[in-house]
């Protein structure tokens, strides 16, 4: 399929981009890596009147490492994060996750802001944000706000972002010494969106644990009951068993080839495997 006709704007400043979005009355869409938006336009699932290309805006990409946070500019590409030793040291989970996002060619263009803004329920980055308790920085022509990961995702491709807002940065907490991370995703083919995926973030003693799932429901999901089962436990088989049992109320949805029940089963498998892979 061919995309319907659209206008193309390539603003040189963030202000200009935000002004374009503010004036567009919801009919403009930001363009980042285009790895999701272009196919959606060709399938005519998206038909923006105007594309506002973010790629020419200086300052929207790149990483700032702060005392306890890492701020990643929205148009920072996966491939740049993959190669960034400082980021990987500050957020080691990123190094575990990135190789599982699509394929190298897509990571060369795809951006972290695009993935967060898109909010594909099977995407890895939204779950990373949720598991780490990160934040999303949103900006419109008139205001700037920071939203916690727990409050950001609403449903399939749905977030609290308003059409005139841009994701300008994604903020992830820096790992503390002895923090540990586990990641596991179940895919039939390397690089696919996950059938079920799990991220576990824990401190050294398992006093604090966050568990996030992707690919099982309508958005990245925290599993708070599973977290409770693991928090303060010895991390042994009984605790893990209880954590898996606690997924009974995880809001799973089926897809074309996998039922909700199977998703829940796979979520349990992914949790066990992610937990067993907890490493610093």
């Amino acid at each position: 399929m061919k995309a319907p006709d659209f206008d193309y704007q390539s603003p040189e400043t963030l202000e200009a981009a935000l002004a374009l979005l503010a004036d567009a009355d919801g009919m403009a869409e930001p363009l980042a890596g285009g790895q999701s938006l272009m196919p959606m336009m060709n399938f005519r699932l998206a038909a923006p009147e105007t594309l506002v290309d973010l790629n020419g805006i200086p300052g929207l990409s790149g990483v700032a490492i702060e005392d306890s946070w890492v701020a990643i500019g929205a148009t920072t590409r996966y491939c740049d994060l993959e190669d960034d030793k400082e980021v990987i040291e500050a957020v080691p989970l990123i190094a575990k996750v990135l190789p599982h996002i699509a394929h190298a060619a897509i990571r060369n263009r795809g951006t972290i802001g695009g993935s967060i803004a898109l909010a594909d329920p099977a995407a890895e980055m939204p779950a990373v944000l949720l598991a780490l308790g990160g934040e999303v920085v949103l900006q419109s022509a008139s205001a700037r706000r920071t939203v916690k990961a727990d409050d950001f995702f609403l449903g399939i491709y749905e977030t609290v972002r308003e059409p005139e807002e841009l994701v300008v940065a994604v903020r992830l907490p820096k790992a503390k010494p002895h923090d540990r991370f586990g990641f596991h995703e179940i895919v039939r083919r390397h690089g696919d969106y996950a059938m079920a995926g799990c991220i576990v973030a824990a401190d050294a003693t398992l006093a604090g644990v966050r568990v996030a799932f992707f690919g099982v429901g309508d958005r990245p999901l925290r599993a708070e009951r599973a977290e409770d089962a693991l928090a303060g436990s010895d991390g042994g088989p009984a605790a893990l068993h209880a954590a898996v049992a606690a997924l009974s109320d995880l809001e799973c949805d089926g897809d074309v080839s996998t039922s909700a029940d199977t998703k829940r089963h796979l979520a349990g498998v992914a949790l066990k495997r992610a937990f067993s892979e907890l490493t610093a």
Partner: protein, 791 residues
């Protein structure tokens, strides 16, 4: 050619060697000429409004807004195009009783499958045509649909074609020996299974594509076509558009994969030709991926109840099965959608000595996209039925799966003979192939590993498939039933003044290397270097008449015609050389572009000879009238098909928590007769195995209950990808066919035919200690988990 060694020993011995493809550089430098690369003057673009419903009466189509949309040149509905086309019906007389209703390029009154074209838009670009598609409003009155093939024959099922009274398109039964008596013997062990094979399709890199270019001044249609049977298409366009056959030229230059998908009559392509005729200008239609999934023919879709009895020492006492297959609302034209089921009946059990055989197939209409011939037609079903039940039976009596084959395979010295279903077989090597396979896969060691790993909770399985492949078909396949499909093919070879040769052939190239094979044979047999050969295929105006490429016939049939033509040209050239050199033809030869004595001493350059003939004929005796061009045709006689055989094995690991199956290794021992180019044959086997793995593990066209296809993107329809593919180890037994001098059988479909059975057996071997088994393809994680009782 009785002694192949003489071929290997002299210059230009290309037959049997892995020469690189002459067209590889052109294609890799982006100079391919695929249909979509072509831009003709005044060319316009087509897009189609397609049915959203599986079964509905079309109460109205409002095209007024579409007509006024920017760039739109024409909008037509089914009623508009109907006067310009003769309807087509997909039946053949040798498939007795097969029925189907007349088809039109655009549905008129009733839409019978989601995706069926209803209206055509022609505009100055495809994007603008798609804009207009969105402006067409179709009003439907939904009709009850028969989507599920298993209930489509129920008495209360909605009947798609009222005139037939039921949804049965065709039924055939084969009954040999006495299966009933054999099954009721007290000394046999019975296994009985329901096998399910999902619908999938052949995902070609290049989608279906066409440019129709009608010239009213000559009443002539040129059709640029991405496909594999140019002369068949010539007939079809001529007949159904009312043109003289010689006034239809089909050009198929580079084709990006076909696999049987592009060998059928598609409404949108016929409509494209009509549009060009009506508009008197070129019209291009290139299917997008969504249209490809919805409308490229689908394949398989069988539910089989199968039963086998074996004696205590593992002899097959009887094999019986009942197959139901859904084909969509029509039988595809002109090859029909009954051939697959027919093949299942013909091929099941063909590697084995089976005396009692009962098989029934019912082919049913349903409200889904049409099903038709795709790579390895019927083979994966036939092989999985017999080999699946055979390994099940082996396990039931505690016999090793290799051993049970040893006890049942047809003996290599028992040919010529027939299969249980009556297929004539010759020159096969099942026993040799199996022993070679067992040897190359280090079977014993693999079994030891398997046992050790099971104790560690790792579930690996080893599965086999002994298979046959139908290749090099005679007229018995289609022509006998009235299909406009040639089973003979021709090759022309011409010596040019510069000493190079021009070759043309009626077989075609879709990326598999046919042109390379033809060049190898021409250069080898005639005696020039490979780079002095130019090949032309895929143009009805300049090539000899023939069937094109299907049923693994390109090398075996087209190659033999090439060989015969090259032999003939060589004789002509040596006759002329003998006169010029005052020698006897028998004392001369052609090597590396030179006329030589038989000992290799150079006598004259081929170009000198050709220039003498073409420019200075005055130097020749007046009764010598050299042609320097030869055409030969070849068809298989005496046998309906030239069968090949193979033995394959898969090694898989089942993750019993996720249900994901990993194929660790795959082995294929294949006997395609003379191997003309080992590299190309190995790649055919490997590519075929990958498509077989696709059918076994990944690919499935998923439909909702009301006939909506749910996965029409490459994100949702999973094709096998390289990261998951195992090493595929290939070895050959060469038992040349006696039907030709070349001795080559086909090789293109073996992997696709045999791999699913081997994978099925390997998975069930892995699941056996868990007392589970799975008989449904693709074997998805969810199905594995269900088989294990985990969900």
């Amino acid at each position: 050619m009785t002694n192949p060694l003489t071929l290997y020993d002299r210059p230009n011995s290309y037959i049997g060697h892995s020469v690189p493809r002459p067209d590889a550089r052109r294609l890799s430098e982006g100079r391919g000429r695929f249909v979509d690369d072509k831009v003709l003057p005044r060319m316009v673009h087509a897009a189609f409004v397609r049915s959203d419903m599986a079964h509905a009466r079309i109460t109205s189509i409002d095209i007024s807004d579409a007509k006024n949309s920017p760039g739109v040149i024409a909008v037509w509905t089914g009623a508009d195009l109907a006067p310009h086309v003769e309807p087509y019906v997909g039946v053949l007389s040798h498939l007795a009783g097969l029925r189907s209703a007349p088809q039109m390029p655009l549905a008129d009154d009733v839409a019978r499958w989601q995706g069926e074209p209803l209206a055509m838009i022609v505009a100055t670009s495809r994007a603008l045509a798609e804009d207009a598609v969105a402006l067409v409003t179709v009003e439907y009155e939904e009709l009850p649909a028969a989507c599920d093939m298993e209930t489509a024959l129920d008495p209360d099922a909605p009947v798609i074609h009222q005139e037939f009274g039921s949804n049965l398109a065709w039924e055939r039964t084969v009954d040999v020996g006495d299966t009933k008596a054999a099954f009721s013997r007290t000394d046999v062990t019975l296994v009985e299974r329901e096998l399910r094979f999902g619908r999938h399709t052949g995902v070609t890199l290049e989608a279906r594509a066409a440019i129709a270019d009608f010239d009213p001044s000559e009443d002539h249609l040129t059709f640029h076509y991405s496909g594999q049977a140019p002369h068949m298409m010539q007939f079809i366009f001529a007949k159904h558009l009312g043109l003289a056959e010689e006034n239809v030229r089909i050009i198929a230059e580079d084709v990006g994969g076909s696999f049987g998908i592009k060998i059928h009559t598609y409404g949108d392509e016929i409509a494209t030709a009509i549009a060009s005729r009506l508009l008197k200008r070129p019209v291009k239609f290139v299917a997008d991926r969504h249209e490809s999934f919805l409308t490229d023919i689908h394949a398989r879709d069988h539910v089989v109840h199968g039963k086998m009895a074996v004696t205590q020492d593992g002899q097959i006492a009887a094999l019986a099965f009942d197959d139901v297959t859904g084909i969509g609302p029509f039988s595809m034209y002109p090859r029909t959608s009954a051939i697959e089921a027919n093949q299942v009946l013909n091929l099941t059990g063909a590697p084995y000595d089976i005396e009692n055989y009962h098989a029934r197939a019912r082919v049913v209409f349903q409200n889904k996209n049409m099903m038709c011939q795709y790579r390895a037609v019927g083979h994966p079903i036939a092989m999985a039925i017999c080999d699946g039940l055979l390994e099940d039976a082996a396990a039931a009596i505690g016999l090793d799966p290799v051993e049970i084959r040893r006890r049942n395979l047809m003996r290599d010295d028992s040919y010529p003979r027939a299969s249980a279903s009556g297929m004539k077989l010759d020159d096969l090597s099942h026993q040799k192939a199996l022993e070679r396979l067992v040897d190359m896969m280090r079977y014993e060691a693999l079994r030891e590993d398997q046992a050790r790993l099971r104790n560690e909770g790792v579930f690996r399985g080893i599965g086999f498939c002994s298979m046959v492949e139908v290749t090099n078909p005679s007229p018995m396949f289609y022509g006998i039933g009235g299909a406009p499909i040639a089973s003979q093919d021709g090759a022309t070879i011409r010596l040019d003044a510069g000493g190079g040769i021009q070759v043309s052939s009626s077989v075609t190239e879709q990326g598999q290397g046919t042109n390379t094979i033809l060049a190898q044979i021409a250069a080898d047999i005639f005696g020039v270097d490979l780079d002095r050969v130019r090949i032309k295929t895929g143009d009805t105006e300049v090539t000899p008449y023939g069937g094109g490429t299907w049923a693994s016939r390109g090398a075996g049939i087209g190659g033999e015609a090439m060989l015969q033509a090259a032999v003939a040209l060589k004789e002509q050239v040596l006759d002329v050389a003998a006169v010029i050199l005052q020698a006897k033809p028998d004392d001369l030869d052609i090597k590396a572009g030179k006329i030589t004595d038989t000992d290799g001493t150079e006598r004259m350059d081929l170009s000198d000879l050709a220039r003498t003939v073409y420019y200075r004929g005055n130097e020749l005796p007046s009764d010598l009238k050299p042609e320097l061009i030869a055409t030969r045709h070849y068809r298989v006689t005496d046998f309906p098909f030239v069968f090949t055989n193979g033995a394959m094995a898969a090694h898989v690991e089942v993750d019993t928590d996720t249900g994901i199956i990993r194929v660790l290794d795959f082995w294929a021992v294949e006997d395609c007769g003379r191997v003309l180019n080992p590299l190309l044959v190995d790649e055919q086997i490997r590519g075929g195995v990958v498509q077989g793995i696709g059918g076994a593990l990944y690919e499935e066209c998923l439909y909702s209950e009301d006939g909506q296809m749910l996965n029409t993107t490459m994100a949702d329809y999973l094709v096998p990808m390289s990261a998951e593919m195992p090493d595929i180890h290939v070895a050959h037994i060469e038992t040349p066919t006696k039907t030709s001098v070349l001795g080559a059988k086909g090789a293109g479909e073996a992997g696709t035919g045999g791999a699913p059975g081997a994978i099925l057996n390997a998975v069930n071997d892995a699941l056996r200690p868990l007392n589970s088994s799975l008989w449904q393809m693709p074997m998805t994680p969810e199905r594995v988990l269900k088989a294990l009782g985990k969900v």
